[in-house]
């Protein structure tokens, strides 16, 4: 598994390096459908979705890093943080499941 995993890391690193393509390729495009911060509903009327709290890195960027270069750096930062968090949280969930399993089996032993 070790070698397989190092190959997975190479793919992951390549994707992180390429991540800014994900924002640069759609630089002059709008948001995904239904993900707008404001919607034109009439001639002079707009509708805004209600927000609940803010995210530390909204839209995978540091607020104010608006140029393509700075947004790319923000994107890299977000990719690295997001990947690390996915890995740590999934492994954490795995640890929790393992503890749950142990508790369950020791509980069963107690019943015997």
């Amino acid at each position: 598994m070790g070698k397989r995993m190092s190959k997975a890391w190479i793919v992951m690193t390549a994707l992180i390096i390429m991540a800014p393509i994900g924002i640069l390729a759609t630089w002059n495009y709008g948001d995904a459908w239904g993900e707008w911060g404001e919607v034109q509903v009439g001639d002079n009327e707009t509708w805004e979705p209600q927000q609940y709290g803010g995210a530390p890195l909204p839209d995978y960027n540091v607020e104010g890093w608006d140029s393509p270069l700075m947004a790319s750096i923000g994107y890299w930062l977000s990719a690295i943080i997001g990947v690390s968090m996915c890995i740590f949280i999934t492994l954490g969930v795995g640890k929790a499941v393992e503890l749950w399993r142990k508790e369950e089996s020791s509980g069963n032993d107690g019943e015997k």
């Binding site: 598994m1 397989r4 995993m5 997975a8 793919v11 992951m12 994707l15 992180i16 390429m18 991540a19 393509i21 994900g22 924002i23 390729a25 759609t26 495009y29 709008g30 948001d31 995904a32 459908w33 239904g34 993900e35 919607v39 509903v41 509708w47 805004e48 979705p49 209600q50 927000q51 609940y52 709290g53 803010g54 995210a55 530390p56 890195l57 909204p58 839209d59 995978y60 994107y75 977000s78 990719a79 943080i81 997001g82 990947v83 690390s84 968090m85 996915c86 890995i87 740590f88 949280i89 999934t90 492994l91 969930v93 795995g94 499941v97 393992e98 749950w100 399993r101 369950e104």
Partner: protein
């Protein structure tokens, strides 16, 4: 496909969160039964992979963007219940840290991308594989590609319905009805995100099978499936 907060009314929001609770619970029970060291470390990488591919926005000719999810790939490699957990973790991080997808909308987004997508993709794939005479790399790639394509489009349709029913049941939320939401979401996913999901899912699944000897540990890892699957 990440529905932001404020688009879904309270009825939809609460219903879909309520639907997700027993699904997450069942996924955890399957994990307790099936999880091994190899499958959990592979899942951690695939959850990160899903997070990353969702950052790649692809241009849609109508001026919007769309992205793949990678949920069918996880479902094929590790079983659909592993995909529920792996994609949910990516979506939770996206919602809380990157404002991609609403926090209250997590029920809807997880149902679409972490449940409907991997299950439709997985059963499409396994159904096609049953019809195929030979278990070759090429056949697996085709079946996985079709599974990914159908999975992401059914998920997009589900998201479109969730958006589009709001004007009828919860005025003041998503202003667009089904007549706008369904064509827009399907256009983006049939034309752009679907082919990307199909290509990546098909390529990875086919590649692993073509290098069977080297990747036997990945191919033979115990799948997180429930009893009869």
């Amino acid at each position: 496909m990440h529905i932001p907060d404020g688009y879904l009314g309270p009825l939809t929001t609460i219903t879909l969160l309520a639907v997700m609770v027993p699904i997450w619970w069942y996924a955890a029970k399957i994990a307790r039964e099936k999880m091994g060291d190899r499958s959990i470390s592979l899942l951690s990488m695939l959850s990160a992979f899903s997070f990353l591919v969702m950052m790649f926005n692809w241009p849609v000719p109508d001026g919007t963007t769309a992205h793949m999810v990678g949920a069918t790939l996880i479902a094929i490699l590790l079983g659909p219940w592993a995909a529920v957990i792996g994609v949910t973790i990516a979506l939770v991080i996206q919602a809380f840290f990157f404002g991609d997808g609403g926090i209250l909308a997590l029920g809807a987004n997880c149902l679409n991308m972490a449940v409907i997508l991997p299950f439709v993709g997985y059963y499409t794939y396994s159904g096609i594989m049953k019809l195929m005479k030979k278990d070759t790399a090429r056949n697996r790639a085709i079946a996985a590609g079709i599974g990914g394509y159908i999975g992401i489009n059914v998920a997009a349709l589900a998201a479109a319905v969730e958006f589009g029913i709001q004007p009828y049941i919860s005025p003041g939320y998503c202003p667009y009805g089904l007549d706008m939401a369904i064509p827009a979401m399907l256009f983006a996913h049939l034309l752009v995100a679907g082919p990307v999901e199909a290509a990546v899912t098909g390529f990875v699944v086919g590649y692993l099978k073509s290098q069977e000897d080297r990747y036997s540990d990945i191919l033979n890892v115990e799948k997180w499936v429930s009893g009869g699957d």
